[in-house]
């Protein structure tokens, strides 16, 4: 491989990661402004750039600077190694799942064909489930290493919750893989490329519902944020975290939301593709990346909208919903998808 080939590989991997890190302040700002909108108050609208308010867009940057200068506290009886490691496990698992989400077709630039995806694994979807499932270690270890009852409760709840909803999520996703005939995410997009009716959200609507609800549970977002549950557990697993370690948890939550949104868009809404549009060359690559970006932002908005609309579930309600509603619904969807595939409809 020539140095240019290496550069292309590095760019293919880094572009989606840098895009997420660059846009990360956007949902943080939108979350607080959205909360203001829904609760009929302004929200943070002062911090701007060079005296221009810009609707408070400078707030996330001000927050980040504040986190940098806060004292980094590790409790006396805590386990210092695991206490420091935990937030970075969560951050690692959130960021490294981006690698297998396709953000464009294979484009031709100067005689080279470049697939716009970090790594086109034959088991791309399973890779996401595997790595995303590891984030629970970060949360559980944060709870245990803090040596605090509230933190431990939050960590334990998270472990049970993630395992329960992972089952429904993978079963719902199996319906998509069945009709696409592959676990490769580029094939999943290709199967939805030709027409709007092929977008999996239409033939597998209940699969989409189960998948999205499970994605909320996997990312520990309201109404499933029992690991955090500030009304009963102070701040759950990150009660004993401050300064940049807390910021790492905070950033990881939004990164996980980004990836979950892009994953939903890829699985059920055609990913980077638009029907009747065939991207060619560099411009086509940028346009298809932007299409995936817009679809992702729509789901980020839904994440925020739900957070400020629904109350938190009780723990038994959470488990009942997961095992008695979501799992049977996902199994029914799988049967339906099998019938569709057998009948040659998809």
């Amino acid at each position: 491989m020539t140095p240019l080939d290496w550069l292309i590989v590095v760019l293919r991997v880094m572009v989606p990661i840098l895009a997420i890190l660059m846009f990360l302040p956007l949902p943080m700002w939108a979350e607080r402004r959205g909360a203001g909108l829904i609760q009929d108050r302004p929200g943070p609208n002062r911090v701007g750039f060079f005296g221009v308010r810009m609707f408070g867009l400078g707030q996330p940057i001000a927050d980040a600077v504040k986190f940098f200068f806060k004292e980094d506290v590790t409790p006396d009886e805590a386990d210092p190694f695991l206490h420091t490691l935990a937030p970075w496990i969560v951050m690692f698992s959130a960021l490294s799942t981006v690698a297998v989400i396709p953000y464009g077709p294979t484009i031709e630039i100067a005689g080279r064909s470049i697939p716009l995806i970090g790594a086109d694994l034959p088991v791309g979807a399973l890779y996401i489930f595997a790595i995303a499932g590891l984030s629970v270690y970060g949360i559980v270890l944060a709870g245990w290493a803090s040596n605090n009852k509230f933190s431990l409760m939050g960590g334990l709840r998270s472990a049970a919750q993630v395992i329960s909803y992972e089952l429904a999520m993978t079963t719902a996703a199996a319906g998509v893989f069945l009709t696409a005939g592959s676990l490769r995410l580029t094939d999943v997009v290709a199967a939805q490329q030709t027409s709007l009716l092929r977008w999996n959200v239409l033939p597998q609507f209940f699969g989409f519902i189960v998948f999205t609800v499970s994605a909320f549970a996997e990312t520990n977002r309201v109404p499933f944020d029992l690991a955090e549950a500030d009304a009963e557990l102070v701040a759950g697993y990150h009660t004993e975290y401050s300064s940049f370690k807390f910021a790492a948890f905070f950033m990881a939550e939004y990164t996980a939301m980004f990836v979950a949104s892009a994953f939903i868009a890829t699985m059920y809404f055609g990913g980077w593709s638009l029907p009747f549009y065939h991207p060619v060359g560099l411009v086509g690559g940028i346009v298809s990346g932007a299409v995936l970006g817009v679809k992702t932002l729509v789901f980020l908005a839904i994440f925020i909208w739900v957070r400020w609309t629904l109350p938190r579930f009780r723990y038994d309600q959470l488990m009942t919903l997961g095992w008695k509603v979501m799992l049977p619904l996902a199994l029914a969807n799988l049967l339906w998808a099998a019938l569709l595939a057998l009948g040659g409809v998809l």
Binding site: L82, P122, V136, Y137, V140
Partner: protein, 176 residues
């Protein structure tokens, strides 16, 4: 030595080292984390052996589910120090020595007979695709596959019965 082979060897060494840490570490939680790293390294070996499906399943099932449950239980027990018998059985050291010798003999035999398999046999690597695996699972191996699923169902029912036995007489409002 090619780069994949080098990574393969490093991952193999990491798997063994972290498995050893699992055995000797005094803190059960950290021992369990060493097991996670070891399983991860083995998943890396599967990837380099052109079996990404097996690698993903390894991480999802073992690292992502089973060891999380172990961690869950360890945290509920909250073991601070090593729990166990203070002094071993008189025969323990002797039996342990015999076990080590037998195991070392087995490992040596395995290593000596596997020389042809160590990436130099010239046979094409298995593709590791999902479709051939699924086809084999539902045709050649259909009977064992169904037998295992019945076994799992029996275990599930058994676990359910055992878990319900103590809590059955409780009044309904006490249930969580």
């Amino acid at each position: 030595m090619s780069a994949p082979r080098l990574i393969f060897d490093i991952a193999g060494a990491a798997a063994v080292v972290f498995a050893a840490i699992l055995v000797v570490h005094r803190n059960p939680i950290k021992g369990l984390l060493a097991a996670v790293v070891s399983l991860f390294a083995i998943a890396g070996e599967f990837v380099l052996l052109s079996s990404p499906f097996l690698a993903a399943i390894q991480v999802i099932v073992y690292a992502g589910a089973i060891l999380v449950l172990f961690l869950f239980v360890l945290m509920l027990l909250n073991l601070d120090r090593e729990a166990g018998p203070e002094e071993g059985h008189r025969m323990q050291k002797l039996l342990g020595f015999v076990a080590i010798v037998l195991f070392a003999g087995m490992m040596l035999a395995a290593v000596r007979s596997s020389g042809a398999l160590a990436g130099s046999s010239g046979e094409p690597a298995p593709t590791g695709e999902v479709v051939p695996l699924a086809a084999a699972l539902f045709s050649q191996a259909a009977l064992p596959f169904e037998a295992v699923s019945i076994l799992l169902l029996a275990a599930l029912v058994g676990a359910f019965v055992l878990a319900r036995r103590d809590s059955a007489p409780r009044p309904p409002e006490e249930r969580p």
